[in-house]
Amino acid sequence: MLYREAGDFKTSYAADLQTFPIKSERILFWAFTAVAFLVVPFFINDYWEKSILVPFLVWSMVALGLNILTGYCGQVSLGTGGFMAVGAFACYKFMTAFPDLNIMICILLSGVVTAGVGVLFGLPSLRIKGFYLAVATLAAQFFLVWMFNKFAWFYNYSASGQISAPERTIFGIAVTGPNSAPWATYLTCLTIVFIFAWVARNLTRGRVGRSWMAMRDMDIAAEIMGVSPFSAKLSAFAVSSFYIGIAGALFFAVYLGAAEVTEAFGIDKSFTALFMVIIGGLGSILGSFLGAAFIILFPVLLKNLMVGYLGWPTDLAAHFQIMIVGGLIIFFLIVEPHGLAQLWRLAKEKLRLWPFPY
C-alpha cells in the first residue's frame, strides 16, 4: 500500500529514466541518506566506527569496483587484493613523501595510480577471457603482494615491513591516525562512497556502461556493432581499479591505520570481494552494498549473538559462524542465483501488487 506507482506521473523522459522511478522509493532513499549523513555521526562511537560502519563502507567501495569489472563488463578478476595493496601503498607513499598534500588528494591519486596498474594487468583481457583471465589476474595478486613485500622502498625501509598512516587532517580535523574521531573517519568514508556510488550508477547507465554490458553479454556481437573491445575492456579495468585503489587507500589509512601487505591484502581479500559481488548481485550497484553488508556485518552480528548474548565459548562461536555463513552463501545462491539485489527486486515487484496479486 505504501509502495505503489499510482498517482506518480512522469511528464519527461528524464523523470521516466531516473534511478528511483517510484516516489516512495525516492523518499526512502533520501531519508536513508539523510540519516546516514546527519544522524549517525552524532551517535557513532569507536566500536561502531571501527568494527561495523567503516569496514562496511570500505568494502562496499571494493565491491563497487569489482562489480564494474566483473558484474558489468564480465571480466573475472582475482587480483582485487593486489589492487587494494596498490592503493594502500600509493597512499602511504604520497602521505609520507608529500606531508603537506591533503589526504583527499592522496586518496584520489592512489586511485589514479591503481587505475594505471589495473590497465596494465587488464591488457591480457584483450586476448583471453573467462578462466584464463582469472588466472592472469591471480598472477597480478601474487606479483603485487610479493613486490610490496620484497622492495623496501615501498614501506620506507621500516624494519618490520609494516606501513602506518601518519595523522592527516581535513579542515583541521584528523581523519587518519589514532586520534581521529569516529565521526570524522565515518563521514570521510561515507562521502567518498556516496559520491562514487553515484558516479558508478550513472556510468553504468550511460554509453560507457552500455558498452561494458555489451562486451559482457557477447563480445563478438558487440564488436560487430561497433563497440571497441580495447576501450571497453580497458576502461572497465581502469575504472574498477580506480575504485578498488581508493578503497585500498581508505582501508589502510582510515580504517586500519597500519597494514602489512601479506596479511592485509592476501588472496583471501580477492575471494572475499568476489563473494560479495556474487552474493550481492552481479551488475547491480545496490548489490555491491548488500553483498558487503552480508559478508562483513553478518559475521559480526553472529559473533555478538553467540558470544555476547548466548555466552558460548569463542572458538565454538567462530566455527559456527564459518559454518552458518558458508551455508547461507550456498542457500542464497541456490534460491536466488542472481544475488541479494534480485531478491530485493522481486520483493519490490510483489509489493507493487500487494495486496491484490494476480
Binding site: 602489512e260 555478538n304 555476547g308 569463542t314 572458538d315
Partner: protein
C-alpha cells in the same frame, strides 16, 4: 512488512552494539582458538584464563577484587583483532595482551590514544622497550632482538668464540613478526663476521619444501627460526627430512612448544629453542592450578595442556598482569584501579626471586625490574632442548643476557625514528 523490518533491524542493531558492563578487574584475552595458528593459540589462552580463574577461586581475586576475563576470538587476524579491541575496551579493559605481533603493531597507536596499556610479552614491536617513546607499551621480560642476540651468543659459545666465515640462516614467517630479528642479526653479523642468509616463509607456512631444499644446498652451519603456528611443525619436519643436525637448529621462544616438535617424532630430537621462562609443571603453582581449576572443572580448555611451554607462558603472562595490578593497587592505595593506574603499576613492577617463590613459581623466570625508560625488562634467555624420548623440554644453559651494546643502540635508533615520524615528544623519565 515495514514494521517487521524495522523491528528486525532494531534488534540487529541492539545485538551489534554490546552494552558495557563494568566489572572489577577486566582483562580481555584476544585469543585464537581457530585457524592455522590455533595449535599455539589454544594453550596460551588456556593458561592465561586458568591463572585468573585460580586467583579468583583460591584468593578471592586480587586484593579482594575479582577478575573478569573477556575472551575474543581474533584468528590471528588483524582486522578481527581491531574489532575485538574496540568491542572490549568499553568494558573497562585494563590491559591488552594480543599475542600477535601484527595486532600489537595495530594497537600501539590506538591504545596509546585511548590510554590503555599493552603488554606484548616477548613479541610485538621491539623498540617499544624504550618507555620514553612508548609509555603505554611494555614488552618485558625480553624482546626479539634480545632473543636474536642471545641465540648468536650461544652459537658463538658453541663454536668456541669464533664465528668468522660461519653461515647462519634465518627461516622466518614473512610478516612483521618474522622480519623483526633481521636488523639485529645483520648488525651482529658485522660484529662477529658470520654470513647471514634469509629464508622467508609465507603465511601460513604449510609448504616449505623449496625453502629446505635451498638450505640443504647452501649448508648453513646453524639455522634459526622465527616461526609461528603450523609453520613451526612443518619446518622441524622438513629439517628432519633433509637430516639437518637438530642441535644446530635453534628457534625463537615462539617456535618452541610441544605441538611444534611432536609431529616430527624422533626426528625432532635435539631441537633447540630459546626460552624466557621455565619449562615443565614441576612448580608448586601447578598443584594449585590442578586442584582449584582443572579438577574443579573450571579450566578454560580441556585441561590437557598443563605444563606445556605455551600454557606456562599464558600462566606467566597472567601472573605478570596480576602482579602489576597488585603493584598498581599499592601505588595508588586503592583496589579500584583504572587503566592509567594499571600502567603505573606495570612501570613500577618489581618481581624478585622471593616473590616468585611466594607465588609458587620459584626460579621460573628472570627477576624483573621495570623502569620508566626500560619497558623491555632484563632481556634474559636460556636455551632449551627437546628430548623426543621423554617428550620433554629441558634448559641446557643458564639464563644469559643479550648483547646490550648492539641491542640498545638499535632500540634507540628505531624508537627515535618512530618518535620523529609520529611527532611524539619523548616522556621525561626523571633519571
Amino acid at each position: 512488512m515495514r514494521f517487521k523490518l524495522l523491528v528486525a533491524s532494531a534488534a540487529a542493531a541492539m545485538v551489534m552494539g554490546t552494552a558495557p558492563a563494568f566489572a572489577d578487574l577486566v582483562f580481555p584475552s584476544l585469543s585464537y582458538r581457530t585457524g592455522p595458528y590455533a595449535p599455539n593459540g589454544i594453550p596460551f589462552a588456556d593458561g592465561y584464563a586458568d591463572y585468573f580463574t585460580l586467583i579468583n577461586e583460591r584468593d578471592g581475586g586480587v586484593e579482594g577484587q575479582m577478575i573478569k576475563l573477556i575472551e575474543c576470538e581474533t584468528g590471528y587476524n588483524t582486522e578481527k583483532g581491531v574489532e575485538c579491541y574496540e568491542s572490549t575496551k568499553g568494558e573497562g579493559a585494563l590491559l591488552y595482551q594480543p599475542l600477535s605481533t601484527g595486532i600489537t603493531y595495530q594497537l600501539i597507536p590506538k591504545a596509546t590514544a585511548d590510554n590503555i596499556p599493552v603488554h606484548s610479552m616477548g613479541y610485538g614491536r621491539t623498540s617499544a622497550a624504550n618507555g620514553k617513546v612508548f609509555p603505554w607499551v611494555f614488552n618485558y621480560p625480553g624482546t626479539y632482538w634480545d632473543a636474536a642476540s642471545i641465540i648468536v651468543k650461544y652459537i658463538n659459545d658453541q663454536e668456541g668464540g669464533d664465528l668468522n666465515g660461519k653461515k647462519i640462516a634465518l627461516v622466518y614467517h614473512n610478516s612483521a613478526y618474522g622480519k623483526e630479528p633481521i636488523r639485529t642479526l645483520e648488525e651482529l653479523a658485522k660484529k662477529h663476521g658470520y654470513e647471514l642468509s634469509l629464508y622467508p616463509v609465507d603465511h601460513p607456512g604449510q609448504e616449505q619444501k623449496a625453502t629446505w631444499l635451498q638450505i640443504r644446498k647452501e649448508r648453513p652451519d646453524y639455522v634459526t627460526m622465527w616461526g609461528w603456528g603450523v609453520m613451526n611443525q612443518v619446518a622441524i619436519q622438513e629439517a628432519a627430512n633433509i637430516r639437518f643436525p637438530m642441535d644446530h637448529f635453534i628457534g625463537v621462544w615462539w617456535s618452541a612448544s610441544e605441538n611444534d616438535v611432536l609431529p616430527a617424532g624422533d626426528g625432532a630430537n635435539g631441537y633447540k629453542a630459546i626460552a624466557f621462562h621455565g619449562v615443565g609443571s614441576d612448580f608448586p603453582l601447578f598443584d594449585d592450578l590442578k586442584k582449584y581449576v582443572i579438577d574443579a572443572g573450571k579450566a578454560a580448555g580441556d585441561g590437557s595442556h598443563l605444563g606445556e611451554v605455551l600454557y606456562n607462558r599464558g600462566v606467566y603472562a597472567a601472573m605478570l598482569a596480576v602482579e602489576a595490578a597488585r603493584t598498581a593497587m599499592k601505588l595508588h592505595d586503592t583496589t579500584d584501579i583504572t587503566p592509567t593506574m594499571m600502567r603505573d603499576g606495570m612501570e613500577a613492577l618489581v618481581l624478585d626471586n622471593a616473590r616468585m617463590a611466594e607465588i609458587g613459581l620459584p626460579n621460573f623466570g628472570p627477576e624483573i625490574n621495570v623502569t620508566c625508560s626500560n619497558h623491555g625488562g632484563p632481556g634474559l634467555g636460556a636455551i632449551s632442548q627437546w628430548d623426543a624420548n621423554s617428550k620433554t623440554w629441558s634448559l641446557v644453559t643458564d639464563f644469559m643476557g643479550a648483547d646490550r651494546e648492539v641491542v640498545d643502540a638499535l632500540i634507540m635508533e628505531d624508537s627515535e625514528a618512530y618518535a620523529a615520524e609520529n611527532n611524539i615528544e619523548p616522556v621525561a623519565c626523571g633519571s
